[in-house]
Amino acid sequence: MKIKHQLAIFNALTRLLVILILWLMLPILVENVVYHHINNSLLEKKEKFIKHLNREEINDFIESADDSTEAFSEFSMLHNEFLVLSRAPLKPRHKFYTFSNDYRKIEGEENEYRILQYYFAYEGEGYKLEIGSSLSEVNDLTFVIRFFILIVFVVILLVTFLADTFYIEYLLKPFYKIIDTKIRRVNEPEAFDHTPIKAKSRDFRELDLVLNQMMDRIAELFKKEKQFISNVSHELLTPIALLKNKFENLLQNESLDDNAIDKIASSLKTLDMLKKIINNLLLISRIENNQYQANENINFHEILNDLQEDFQDRLEDREIDFKNQMTHNYNFIGNRTLIHILIYNLVINAIKYNRPKGDIVIFDGFENDRYFISITDSGLGMTEVHLEKIFNRFARINSDQDGQGLGLAIAESISFFHHIEIKVVSKINEGTTFTLAFPEAEK
């Protein structure tokens, strides 16, 4: 899941949580406000009533002085308010006044009321005053408010979710641009695009800046390594060239005896070996340093025909049957020189480690939509232990074998460079198969 979706969903969830809490708290809040308001108005009414209170009025309210329970009541027309005055015994510890909610039946109609009970003394007699205000309207109002607020909340939730999504998308745009145009191209520091990403957020501008600096450093390192490789090749190969040419000139000297000629020739061979080891190591470094272009059309038939011709002498010498059973015309874009070296190294191994009168089979096809070429020999084969090590530099199966063990290390580097998977299967005394599985073609 992408970060923009995660953020949008997280925002929506937190908002939903807040709304839920508000929704639950709403009745309490509303009641508090409404009750406060009603209480005040009840108190006001009480003050008014007490202020204008006199004996006559009390007598008007209370018809019978003996009757302490029957009280005179005054009702408003719609039964939303009432006032009741009654005699009550004076209790010194009685609370001055209290508020409560209660149901009252007034003229056959039961309603919930907010009721103020007030105890007071007038001319030595105790009275209780009850003023009530109907709550049914308030309850209706609360319901309507809750309903409208619910709708508003849902609308807010939707609108903010959409706004969030778009805004996050907009904010993160530079981030995805950094990933697409910068980070994905980390392996080609020289082709790196240094134009700053336009971003509103400072974080992304900083990220971009740091990335640019990092890429500069990587590019610098690549450049340095390239320079180093170039220097090494120059500094090591020049003395070898000098020695080689000196020996070659020396070889032409008429006065040399056979022994001296032998020694010079064998020195030349050693120099040649040294040159090839250096060149092979440099080749690996150059591949790993991305100094090769991979933009040529490669024809595998052509390469294998060339190789077969090159190896004709070796094949005839060991009477090895070279069976090229390739049937596909696969189009691969890569570096022709490197691919040539890759297949060359695999085929030469197949010759070297084959038995006399053995065979080599080159086969191609498709597996899981991926093109593959396999090179199978009928040779010595290898054990599991050997198989693990064959791609290591300077690894050799037998110390008496020719070569310095760089062939397969090079093959691996070239494969990696081209995103080719190189697989090997081997059975002792039956042979070995190297398979090159090419990356799925981009269409």
Binding site: I240, L243, L251
Partner: protein, 224 residues
């Protein structure tokens, strides 16, 4: 034939110089770009061997200047870099051939012969050795106008030995010439012997070839 050797490594320059003088060329050594440009300005050369890493600049700069002013001179670039970029770069600027250091002097002389021959419009088409006529244009060999059928490899070996006549050519040099600078170590092999043996058999049918020597354990030599 006048050859200008542009090489900053003095010892190496001397080795190339000795070898080419021995082969009958007239040579001059310079060590820097500036000297090379001076020398080209004041004397006529048929070919130049150009090292790329020179103390006062890149050999390619010399090559550029040469191609601007003079097109008749063959240029072989000698480089220790061996990088692909350099090769492509060099081709655009008009080098005629490349040799990667370390190279065999005999290979150098064969390449030099080829580029000079090309520069002069292929006028030098035949080599003659002890009555054998090598027609370089169409890879044919004949003796007293009797054609001899050689394989491509046999012809290449014969031509290489004739171009480097009176010199010991090691198996390694021959192998490299025929199969190229292959990466495999210890490529010194007896395959070259098989081809040489066949070649000698074919030549031997026409006349005695005691001038075609085998240098024991080392290689071959054709004496004039």
């Amino acid at each position: 034939m006048n050859i200008l050797i542009v090489e900053d490594n003095k010892e190496l320059a001397v080795e190339v110089y000795d070898f080419l003088c021995n082969a009958g060329y007239v040579c001059k050594i310079v060590h820097t770009c500036n000297n090379a440009l001076e020398e080209i300005g004041s004397n006529d050369y048929d070919a130049m061997l150009l090292d790329l890493g020179l103390p006062d600049g890149d050999g390619f700069e010399v090559l550029k200047t040469v191609r601007k002013t003079q097109s008749k001179m063959a240029v072989i670039v000698l480089t220790a870099r061996g990088e692909l970029d350099d090769r492509i770069n060099g081709l655009h600027l008009g080098a005629d051939d490349y040799l990667t250091k370390p190279f065999a002097l005999t290979e150098l002389s064969a390449r030099l012969f080829a580029v000079i021959r090309r520069m002069h419009g292929f006028t030098l088409n035949n080599l003659i050795i002890h009555g054998f006529l090598l027609q370089l244009q169409d890879y044919k060999v004949s003796y007293n106008e009797v054609p001899i059928s050689l394989t491509k490899k046999e012809f290449d070996i014969f031509q290489y030995l004739v171009l480097n006549k009176n010199r010991v050519i090691t198996r390694l040099q021959l192998t490299e010439h025929i199969w190229g600078d292959i990466l495999e170590v210890n490529s010194d092999s007896n395959f070259i012997d098989v081809h040489v043996r066949n070649l000698r058999k074919k030549l031997d049918k026409h006349t005695t070839i005691d001038w075609f020597e085998t240098v024991r354990n080392v290689g071959y030599r054709i004496n004039e």
